[in-house]
């Protein structure tokens, strides 16, 4: 399964069924025996080829993505929405979306520029004002087509462009899912517990259960992380750079990377010539936090693909960074 297929599946947090079904089918076809746990995580355990006792390593990526959810309907047939995962409303205006499992096309408009006062132009529209238009003419029609609780995703196909870049939605974190699928094809010395987890974008809820249930010796989180490397951003605020390789985190708002694993990853990257960078700002947070603090604690490291314009309809990655994520993770697993 390629990155295009993975990112174009619509599965916001809490509605991972479509991506879960696709991953299950893929894993079964490859001869694995995936299981689904109580949080809806998909787990595949692949035994290592090294001598026992082998390390049991949880490699985790979240399969959910940020999206919207229908909260109500106006009398004239527009959908009221809120965010499922963090989406700045300013990236929603004038965008196309797909509503529900039937992928009903919708658009998010705004009052025409001709009718805006200077204050309107400056003011950010909140979720109370954002509406999705599916062409319904009445409240009843809108409710019938998209009842409360219906999930909505960006309608932005995967595109490869420029000098080795890709633009699409949900790279955060289908890119991690893609890397895990590729790791499962490898023979590794350790026991690999591959986890495609749910609900990261609403508070790292899936990984928490997975780490508890799987009791790994080590946790490695494969993520897509913020990258802010173009335009008017001072170097100190850029976090990481697209094209400079996989980003290794020493610390973010959810966890402090295990020092030994961090040093090992950097050393292996240097020794094997795998492009890598240290994530240069303490920002964001991810499943690393809940995995690290599962049960009596688990040494954990986060390895991320830099994502420009993360949590927007058009996120950008450099494909070579995804390759580096795969290579560095594989090298690290071989060295554990």
């Amino acid at each position: 399964m390629d990155l295009k297929t993975l990112t174009e599946i619509n599965a916001p947090s809490g509605h991972e069924q479509p991506i879960r079904r696709a991953l299950l089918a893929e894993l079964k076809e490859k001869g694995f025996q995936p299981t689904i746990d109580r949080m809806g995580n998909i787990i595949v355990v692949k035994e290592g080829v090294g001598p026992v006792p082998r390390k049991r390593v949880l490699v985790s990526a979240h399969m959910d993505e940020v999206g919207l959810i229908v909260t109500g309907h106006t009398e004239d047939g527009f959908l009221k929405v809120t965010q499922a995962g963090g989406i700045d409303t300013r990236v929603l205006i004038s965008k196309r979306v797909l509503v529900g499992d039937d992928n009903i096309p919708g658009v998010i408009g705004a009052v025409a520029i001709h009718l805006q006062s200077a204050a309107d132009r400056a003011r950010v529209m909140g979720y109370r004002e954002i509406c999705v238009d599916i062409g319904a003419k009445s409240k009843g029609e809108a409710e019938g087509k998209a009842p409360k609780g219906t999930y909505i995703s960006f309608d932005t196909p995967y595109v490869e462009y420029g000098e080795g870049f890709a633009c699409g939605k949900a790279f955060d974190d289908r890119v991690g899912c893609w890397t895990i699928l590729r790791l499962l094809e490898e023979e590794l010395p350790c026991d690999l517990v591959a986890a495609f987890v749910s609900e990261e974008e609403v508070g790292c809820r899936g990984a928490s259960g997975a780490a508890f249930a799987q009791e790994p010796d080590i946790g490695i989180v494969l993520e897509g992380t913020t990258c802010n490397d173009l335009g008017d951003i001072p170097e100190i605020a850029q976090v990481c750079k697209c094209g400079s390789g996989v980003a290794v985190s020493f610390m973010d708002n959810a966890s402090i990377g295990n020092r030994e694993l961090f040093r090992k990853a950097i050393a292996i990257g240097e020794k094997e010539g795998i492009a890598h960078q240290v994530k240069s700002s303490v920002s964001g947070g991810n499943d690393g936090g809940v995995i690290q603090r599962a049960r009596e604690g688990i040494p954990t490291l986060v390895l991320s693909v830099p994502c420009r314009y993360i949590h927007s309809p058009s996120t950008v990655i450099k494909l070579s960074d995804a390759e580096s994520q795969f290579e560095l993770t594989r090298a690290l697993l071989r060295a554990l």
Partner: protein
């Protein structure tokens, strides 16, 4: 005529104000089988004539679109831009665009800050256009080899079919009204019509009715009907400024010839075409303003198609309303007899 297909093709054809050659060529081809003569003039106006011996009437809808233009290429490869026509900066963050460079069009995306890194102040102000950039996924050297200052940037938003026979796309303002002209031309083939009809797809409307100005001089019409979009009701855009999506709109006001307008309203009544009536106290903000004062003056009326989210990349119209507009326009032209001018000013 497959209106949906025409709209899908027309809205994905390049035609930024002042650079309308491609879209003009497209519409000229669409008119050719429906009329006696078609030409594209020096301003990229398309002028299609259905010959007749009666009054000379000009039907006008603009074919240009708002867009962006390259102003600078930064050393990190970012492309800076300004707007051509009234682009709302609020629609830009997260939008996909085409940059029309020397070697063809390049895919690009306009960035936005990640929520994780925003300050409280960032969150409460909209982006200003000069703080945004197009990301072409290329280093500055490659960008500079293909893109120059002044190159055009258009929105890459596919044509979308919504429910209720509505469609969303960029530049439906005003290519949806050009489609009304095309459908009216087709309908006129089955109607009796004495009028000498000029279908004009005008250029440079978004920067001030400049194409219509010269087209009206050239055509020298006896009277004119301008077709443009008007604001449709949406959340935040109420009945004080907007009209229902499902009916064409006529405008009253000093720039509109009242007797010709009454003729249009009476025609709608006679053919059961639903109309909303609105008022423009001064200029209409359409080609009607320029056409009305062409040469010695031209009696003009404005017939509008309601559109949701004007000047965004998801402008939305009703195909049913579009078709009613074409039906009304065809009957109006067909019924414009030799005596139309009697009592015009009395």
């Amino acid at each position: 005529m497959d209106v949906k297909k025409i709209l899908a093709e027309a809205t994905s054809t390049l035609g930024v104000s002042g650079h309308e050659a491609e879209v003009a060529a497209y519409f000229a081809e669409q008119f050719r089988p429906l009329v006696d003569e078609v030409k594209v003039d020096a301003m990229y106006n398309v002028i299609a004539r259905r010959k007749g011996n009666g009054p000379k009437i000009m039907l006008c809808a603009h074919l240009d679109e708002i867009a962006l233009m390259v102003t600078k290429i930064e050393d990190d490869g970012c492309v800076r831009f300004s707007s051509v026509g009234g682009v709302d900066p609020r629609i830009l963050p997260g939008s996909r665009v085409w940059v029309h460079g020397a070697k063809g069009k390049l895919f690009g995306t306009i960035g936005a800050l990640p929520p994780h890194l925003m300050s409280a102040e960032d969150r409460t102000n909209n982006y200003k256009m000069d703080k945004l950039h197009v990301d072409l996924g290329m280093c500055a050297e490659t960008v500079r080899s293909q893109v120059r200052i002044g190159d055009l940037i258009t929105f890459n938003t596919p044509f979308t079919e919504l429910g209720g026979n509505q469609v969303a796309a960029k530049s439906l303002d005003d290519r949806a009204c050009v489609a009304i002209l095309l459908r009216a031309a087709e309908r006129l083939q089955k109607l009796v019509c004495d009028a000498d009809v000029y279908f004009v797809c005008s250029s440079q409307e978004e920067v001030g009715g400049r194409g219509a100005m010269t087209a009206a001089f050239g055509v020298e019409p006896d009277c004119a009907v301008v077709l443009d979009v008007d604001f449709a009701l949406t959340p935040g855009c109420g009945p004080d400024v907007a009209c229902p999506l499902d009916a064409m709109v006529v405008t009253h006001g000093p720039f509109i010839q009242p007797k010709l307008n009454k003729r249009l309203i009476d025609c709608a009544k006679a053919h059961n075409v639903k109309l909303t009536q609105t008022v423009a106290g001064r200029s209409t903000g359409t080609d009607a303003d320029e056409i009305g004062v062409s040469r010695a003056g031209v009696p003009v009326v404005l017939l509008s198609l309601p559109e949701k989210y004007m000047h965004t990349s998801v402008e939305t119209i009703s195909l049913d309303t579009l078709e009613e507009g074409a039906r009304l326009l065809a009957h109006f032209v067909s019924e414009l007899d030799a005596g139309w001018e009697e009592d015009l000013w009395i």
